[in-house]
């Protein structure tokens, strides 16, 4: 196909898509319209039935909890896959050599950068815990908060290198945390069956909307997800860094 005819097909397709998207956007009900059926169907029931003021969390961790369970295990399996692909059996024994390679990093942060980066670790952890813990009250929840928590060790690696990173991140401990988070979600679902209801039924006390103890299992599942996501990200980071640094050592 010649370039001109290819571009003709491309622009014809693009213009058609642009026209359709514009038409769709003009007929969009808008976030506050009563025509928005999803909003009507989710916001009021999440407060009335579950005492949860963040409708998205109520949908994710309660109304369609089984889908979220599946999503969480997508992440779990992906992390396991990355760990299997990148495993470095002798890397632990070559720990000292890895530290030596680490000392010769291409770019070392200045003390001002280092101070600034280390200074953000505390607020990052606090903000991550807040986002996980307040999933039922305000935007956020386990997934988002978990990734925010995982950026804390990341920034420590950038500031101080792999040696310090490995001192605060114990691989076995993070592995156990990831498995525990994933298992906690499964077990919280079983609570519903133990109470004689369906799997993942919200059987914990619901509390009062807009207070820290509201939501029942929504909050518990948010914490389980937060731990699993955070540990998963840290594990992938650990495996990648070990892989890259071991390769660097082998190349030298």
């Amino acid at each position: 196909m010649r370039r001109v005819s290819r571009l003709t097909v491309f622009f014809a397709g693009e213009l058609g898509l642009a026209a359709l998207l514009t038409a769709a956007a003009l007929h969009e009900p808008g976030p506050t319209s009563e025509r928005d059926r999803y909003r009507v169907a989710t916001t009021a029931p999440s407060v009335d039935l579950r005492q949860v003021t963040d409708a998205v969390s109520a949908v994710n961790f309660d109304f369609r909890g089984i889908d979220t369970l599946g999503e969480e295990f997508i992440l779990f399996v992906s992390v396991s896959g990355v760990l299997v692909l990148l495993r470095e059996p002798e890397a632990e024994e070559r720990g000292l050599i890895i530290d030596a390679a680490d000392a010769g990093r291409d770019m070392k942060p200045t003390s001002a950068m280092r101070g600034w980066m280390v200074g953000t670790v505390g607020p990052k952890v606090l903000f991550g815990l807040y986002i996980v813990g307040h999933g039922a009250l305000s935007p956020g929840g386990g997934f988002q908060g978990g990734v925010i928590l995982a950026t804390a060790p990341m920034i420590i690696y950038l500031a101080d290198g792999f040696k310090v990173f490995r001192r605060i991140v114990k691989f076995r401990m993070v592995e156990i945390a990831e498995a525990a988070g994933a298992t906690a979600f499964l077990v919280l679902g079983l609570l519903g069956i133990l109470a004689g209801r369906e799997y993942l039924t919200n059987v914990l006390p619901l509390g009062e909307a807009n207070t820290a103890s509201s939501g029942g299992t929504v909050v518990a599942i948010s914490w389980a997800t937060g731990i699993e996501v955070c540990a998963g990200f840290v594990l992938v980071m650990y495996a990648f860094l070990q892989h890259v640094l071991a390769k660097r050592e082998a190349a030298e």
Binding site: T32, V56, F143, V147, M237
Partner: protein, 79 residues
């Protein structure tokens, strides 16, 4: 639609186009991080703060991190 929403849509289109023209994988990774932030702001002005948060953590942190780490791994292998 409000002016802010139209501005964010235009910015998303602009950054998306700019990203397509970046050919170097490392600059693409940095570019997609900024594009992730623009998308997050766009979701925010369209009153979807939950989606905006997910977009920030995945689009601006998770995805570029994975791309950069993979690039570093590939670079070491080539050496």
């Amino acid at each position: 639609m409000e002016l802010l929403q139209i501005t964010m849509l235009a910015m998303a289109a602009l950054f998306g186009t700019a990203l397509v023209f970046a050919r170097e994988p490392a600059s693409q990774a940095v570019g997609i991080s900024f594009y992730g932030l623009v998308l997050a702001l766009m979701f925010f002005v369209f009153q979807a703060p939950d989606v905006a948060l997910s977009q920030v953590v995945i689009g601006a942190v998770g995805l570029p991190l994975m791309v950069m780490l993979t690039l570093a791994g590939l670079k070491r292998r080539r050496e």
